[in-house]
Symmetry: C2
Subunit: 263 residues, 2 copies
């Protein structure tokens, strides 16, 4: 372990981290920001290729100091003022890493006899996606597939809201045709969700390889997805509203899948 | 319908609305802010006592103009600049009301043979609570009871995140002893949730009057609640995390209650 001290926000490395908060810069450099001990530990288990580690002794507790001491990396030790510049958390724990972006293809996904996949078309809010990743990990989902996704999945807010599950579950960006081809050839049943469907989500069989497809809250699912899916299912809603938050809908259906699989 | 025009942010009414964004002021005046057509409509169905209506023709669509024209209230018509001062939304729809706070006691709750109640100890984030209210309404929950709640439930962010369900479902503040006395005398079974419990939430009977109790994400439930509850249940978690977002946990269990009740 070697230490380099950084006491100025004008340091080139600090300036380049701040630039990485822009999605365009992350894509151009193929790099992402991972903040927090839990997140960095998980990223190492997931064999993320870390490029740099930044550390601040003002915030760090013993487990982080131990981690730093055991590290083979050159550590950039920042003053509090400098670390506050690069941190995106309200309560930083004093460690932040820069890593290569993880690139995966849909064909990389491992499929078992009753795998559940979560599919989202046009996801909008990073916090929602992060929470969906967290719940998916807990519910034993085998992969998350984003269709027509216009947001950068390496957004630090997604990683934060997933509380580290971002690194435990494969997340794929692809298009609608590629997804349905993949599902068809792998005998994965596709379930589109829609508030107007007449089939209740508890009345279908999730104890088989299944892909559950959710749309954005504003627009729902596209006609192409509705027409291509094997089943269209809904969550009953007894109150006055005609929709649930997408993260709540995903929680409800993913845990119904798990319930059916463990009956 | 009478119209008063307000073109200055220095207007006394405008100043007093801005003050109402402070919880202490809402409590002192026993007033709350309701923004949006959907929310105001629902508050009227719930017999909220509206005090004032503020309107901005720059943002309002036809249904809001019709509503204003049919109104028995004196309407305060604001310039865009003034309305932007009092609005708390990113995309205002041009209508905002001031209403008396709704006051309810636990004894006001209606109990049926298999009513589900949602209980939360130490709720922290207004956005989480708002979304929990929204899901509870959809799942047919009969009431929400907040224990040891230190946040003001009339926070505009809660009303917004509930997308109007705030007015469809009774929300009660009380203490732990009063809650357990009420549950005992009304023969309502109490289910505390804890990640360390060995009983799976799908293995208990929710087809009876039930109160499901959730703790804060950081601290979980207090010993007093854990010791006083009839059952302690958990949601299985297969991944690396040891917790779910409280809003996701509530969605999963409330819909399991509904599933069991409609079998």
């Amino acid at each position: 372990m070697k230490i380099k001290k950084i006491n100025s926000s004008q340091n080139t490395k600090i300036k380049s981290i701040i630039k990485l908060y822009k999605s365009s810069e992350r894509i151009k450099k193929s790099l992402m920001i991972i903040e927090g001990y839990r997140e960095i530990s998980r990223s190492l288990i997931a064999k993320c290729e870390l490029k740099e580690i930044f550390f601040c002794s003002y915030y760090a507790d013993k487990k982080i100091i131990d981690f730093i001491n055991d590290c083979n990396f050159t550590i950039n030790e920042c003053s509090k003022k400098v670390f506050d510049k690069i941190s995106y958390r309200q309560n930083p724990d004093g460690i932040l890493a820069i890593s290569k972006i993880i690139k995966r293809k849909i064909s990389d996904l491992e499929i078992k006899s009753n795998s559940t996949f979560l599919i989202i078309e046009n996801i909008e809010k990073p916090g929602n996606l992060g929470n969906i990743i967290r719940t998916s990990d807990a519910a034993g989902v085998s992969g998350i597939i984003l269709l027509n996704n216009k947001t950068d999945i390496n957004n630090p807010n997604i990683i934060r809201a997933s509380i580290g599950s971002f690194f435990s579950i494969p997340i794929i960006n692809t298009n609608i045709d590629t997804f349905f081809d993949w599902a068809y050839y792998n005998n994965i049943k596709t379930f589109a969700t829609s508030p107007s469907a007449s089939v209740n989500y508890t009345d279908v069989n999730f104890n088989q390889s299944s892909a559950i497809i959710f749309g954005s809250e504003d627009k729902g699912l596209s006609d192409k997805i509705m027409n291509s899916s094997d089943h269209i299912i809904s969550i009953p809603m007894l109150g006055q509203n005609d929709s649930l938050n997408v993260s709540s809908s995903a929680s409800i259906i993913l845990y119904e899948c798990l319930r059916q699989k463990t009956l």
